[in-house]
């Protein structure tokens, strides 16, 4: 038998890829909320967490989103992103909790790293916030296509008392039956966008008319090159004497710690242009813009084991 069965002519209405991903994301969010005692969404104002929040508004319509938002603030954020974050929270009538890395540095619980990046310092404030607020289900916008270790992450992923992920001892995840059971002190991370690609996220943002922080779109900005990335002068970045600062047209593909999140040169000022650019791009999202992922081939896996998001 060599003939592949084809779909019937005039097949019943089918879901497009975006329809299917949206329906799956809503199902995951509803399932997690239904079994949670106190859920929370990690919300940075970045596009992935914005899309998760958008799915949540759809999942619970006509009611409002039934959980708080939590932002682990490195203190190195872009002003536009913080402004966008606060405006979004206000618009939806939600409650935002902020865990500040700066507080931990001020009282000595954490020390600045020699390279100045604060992304790895988020782990302790995050875990303290989860324990302090007694969150048991923590939503995040991580996607499996971001990185090789994340490709093996479950949709519903157990974390132990230390927030650790144990990649060798993951629960099998069968059909669309998600198991959120956990013991006291443990919690689960839930990733509704697990099966989305960067391009899916952008196409969905376009389809749904979702607002994002302005720095995702091309704009003129003073930048200088370091380690092959365009960084922008910011209170968190030490501009050295030999750094040549110039104005270029750039945009950001991810938003995070300004000291290690690079811009990419791009003329894409509109959603359609960004989508065309992402569709044609030849460099993965993290490779282009995140210095901390380049530390080693296992960089992401190491941080995840420590409880990083």
């Amino acid at each position: 038998m060599t003939d592949a069965p084809a779909a019937p002519t005039g097949a019943p209405a089918r879901l497009t890829t975006l329809d299917a991903l949206e329906a799956e994301g809503i199902h995951i969010i509803r399932e997690a909320v239904a079994t949670a005692r106190k859920p929370v969404l990690l919300f940075s104002g970045g596009k992935d967490s914005v899309v998760v929040l958008h799915l949540a508004t759809k999942a619970f319509w006509p009611g409002r989103v039934p959980f708080e938002l939590l932002h682990v603030d490195t203190g190195h954020n872009f002003d536009e992103v913080i402004e966008f974050r606060d405006r979004t929270v206000e618009r939806l009538g939600l409650r935002l909790q902020v865990a500040k890395v700066q507080d931990y540095i001020d009282d000595g619980r954490l020390r600045e790293r020699p390279d100045g990046t604060r992304n790895p310092l988020q782990t302790v404030p995050l875990l303290d916030a989860i324990a302090g607020h007694k969150y048991d289900v923590v939503f995040g916008g991580a996607r499996r296509d971001e990185e090789k270790a994340r490709a093996k992450e479950r949709v519903v992923s157990l974390r132990d008392e230390f927030g650790q992920w144990d990649p060798r001892n993951q629960r099998p995840e069968l059909w669309n039956l998600y198991n959120p059971k956990h013991l006291p002190g443990q919690h689960v991370r839930v990733f509704p966008l697990s099966n989305w690609t960067e391009l899916d996220v952008w196409r969905y943002i376009e389809r749904e008319g979702i607002e994002l922080p302005s720095l995702y779109y091309a704009h003129e900005r003073p930048v200088f090159q370091r380690d092959g990335m365009w960084l922008t002068p910011h209170p968190s970045v030490t501009v050295r004497e030999d750094d040549a600062v110039e104005t270029r047209t750039v945009r950001y593909r991810t938003v995070g710690d300004a000291s290690c999140t690079g811009a990419v040169e791009s003329p894409a000022a509109t959603l359609a242009e960004v989508i065309a650019e992402v569709a044609a791009t030849r460099i993965t999202e993290r490779g282009a813009t995140r210095a901390d992922d380049r530390l080693s081939e296992a960089a992401m896996e190491d941080r995840k084991k420590e409880g990083y998001f």
Binding site: A6, A13, R14, K148, N179
Partner: protein, 465 residues
């Protein structure tokens, strides 16, 4: 129909093979030939290949994600990959092939519209092949593609491929698999993976990618189409597929009752039952049975955040309103009234045991079925499947056993603390599937597929369909 070409649909597929069958290479080849590998990811793999002294870029490295895997050169956990062609987008569950990781194959196959089983052309059908085909049969994966790999090492000879293909088909037939397609490939060189090979003029079938691009997914009615095929209709139309379709099912995840002063007055009394349509098509006005209570009412409305719908299809996340004020809670199953089954207190099921601790009679477990979670006890272990299939068929190859060990597939009888609308997996994929959870530590310990009867008791058992 132009929607078939203009709106890319989604296909989920899984890959399975034993060690060194070249599965990771096949996956790397699919990603490479569909131009899905980005420049920096390719550079990283090329760099590692050079460091290891390789002459060519080892495409298998693209998918070996965890550090332990890279160190051991093996794959230990399901890795998900994403790529697309102009015709379709794909979610690939890349499943490791070692015997001890069969649980991952079960995991990957549970959501798969298609399963690719790798066979090494030099060795043909081996124990792992039989195991993977048995998993495909048990989980009713709609399409199975057996990629007979490394034909380059046999100088592209037709004879060995044909004899393996015949062997595969006769084994598949014994398993009740009617949907197996064999393809001669070389993942290393790229023959018949995404591009038709000129070195296999004796093969006129499709490439692996062509099959993946054209077969119907579960949400596109693969089950109904297969049922039409079984009724002898070779090329079913939409009407044939519709006729073969079973009723609809909606597990209730949440009751939406917004209690918010800021809400507009029209939603003050709102009560919607939220869930993802498990199968079939729900239409406004349909008669409904609420399981397990058995109460009856009708569908008053189908809602989404972007507006009401006249009908909702399998896979859509929606909320429905009911005409009468009946008691419905999370864990209930809303079902089309025409074909609703009686809820059960006991049922037989195939169980793939996925944990180190053995399963024994009188063990307590939690059954997660749709959105329901119910206590249960194992009242009987009817037997354990011998995947070498000495009896010729699955049902005839169940040998007596009193416990299930890691990676065993057995037939068990479960007794439930509360009735559940568990259905025959052969007819109702979503409402026949369940997982078992350890009530003490919360871990997932088994994948289960319910069957209407114990093996050997007649034609209703799903493997006999």
């Amino acid at each position: 129909m132009d929607t078939l070409t203009t709106t890319p649909s989604l296909l989920r597929f899984a890959t399975a093979g034993s060690v060194d069958d070249g599965k990771s290479t096949l996956v790397g080849r699919l990603l490479h030939d569909t131009k899905s590998i980005l420049a920096d990811a390719y550079e990283a793999v090329a760099r590692v290949s050079r460091e290891r002294g390789g002459e060519t870029v080892d495409l298998a490295l693209l998918t070996d994600g965890l550090r332990a895997e890279r160190e051991q050169g093996i794959t230990i956990d399901v890795a998900y990959r994403y790529f697309s062609t102009p015709r379709r987008t794909f979610i690939l569950a890349d499943c490791p092939g070692h015997v001890q990781y069969t649980r991952n194959t079960v995991t990957g196959a549970s959501t798969a519209d298609a399963l690719i089983v790798l066979v090494d052309a030099r060795y043909g059908v081996v124990e792992q092949t039989r195991r993977h085909l048995a998993v495909a049969a048990l989980l009713r994966v709609p399409h199975v593609i057996v990629a007979v790999n490394k034909i380059d090492l046999l100088d592209y000879a037709a004879g060995p491929y044909r004899s393996i293909a015949q062997h595969v088909q006769s084994h598949a037939e014994a398993l009740g698999l009617t949907n197996v397609i064999t393809v001669p490939v070389s993942a290393l060189v790229g023959d018949n993976v995404a591009v038709r090979s000129e070195r296999t003029p004796w093969y006129d079938g499709p490439t692996v990618l062509e099959i993946l691009e054209t077969v119907p997914s579960i949400d596109e009615g693969a089950d109904a189409i297969a049922a039409a095929h079984r009724r002898g209709i070779a090329h079913p139309t939409a009407a044939d597929a519709e006729a073969a379709q079973v009723g609809w099912r909606l597990p209730v995840q949440l009751v939406l009752r917004p209690q918010d002063a800021a809400l507009s007055p029209e939603y003050r009394e709102y009560r919607g039952y939220a869930g993802q349509v498990a199968e079939g098509t729900i239409r406004v006005g349909d008669d409904v049975v609420v399981q397990p209570s058995g109460r009856r009412t009708t569908v008053a409305g189908i809602d989404t955040a972007t507006g009401p719908l006249d009908e909702a299809h399998a896979g859509q996340s929606i909320a429905i309103r009911l005409a009468d004020d009946v008691d419905v809670a999370r864990g209930d199953l809303l079902s089309s009234a025409s074909d609703a089954l009686q809820p059960r207190r006991t049922f037989h099921a195939h169980v793939a045991w996925l944990t180190d601790r053995p399963l024994r009679v009188r063990d307590r477990v939690l059954v997660q079925h749709g959105s329901a979670l119910v206590q249960a006890m194992v009242v009987a272990i009817d037997g354990v499947l011998d995947i070498a299939l000495p009896g010729g068929t699955l049902d005839a190859s169940i040998k007596p056993g009193h416990e299930l060990l890691l990676n065993d597939i057995g037939v068990v009888e479960l007794q439930l603390a509360q009735p559940l609308a568990v259905e025959d997996y052969g007819r109702h994929r979503r409402t026949g599937a369940f997982v078992l959870i350890d009530p003490q530590d919360g871990s997932t310990v088994a994948a289960g597929t319910a069957r209407a009867q114990a093996p050997g008791l007649g034609e209703d058992a799903y493997l006999s369909i």
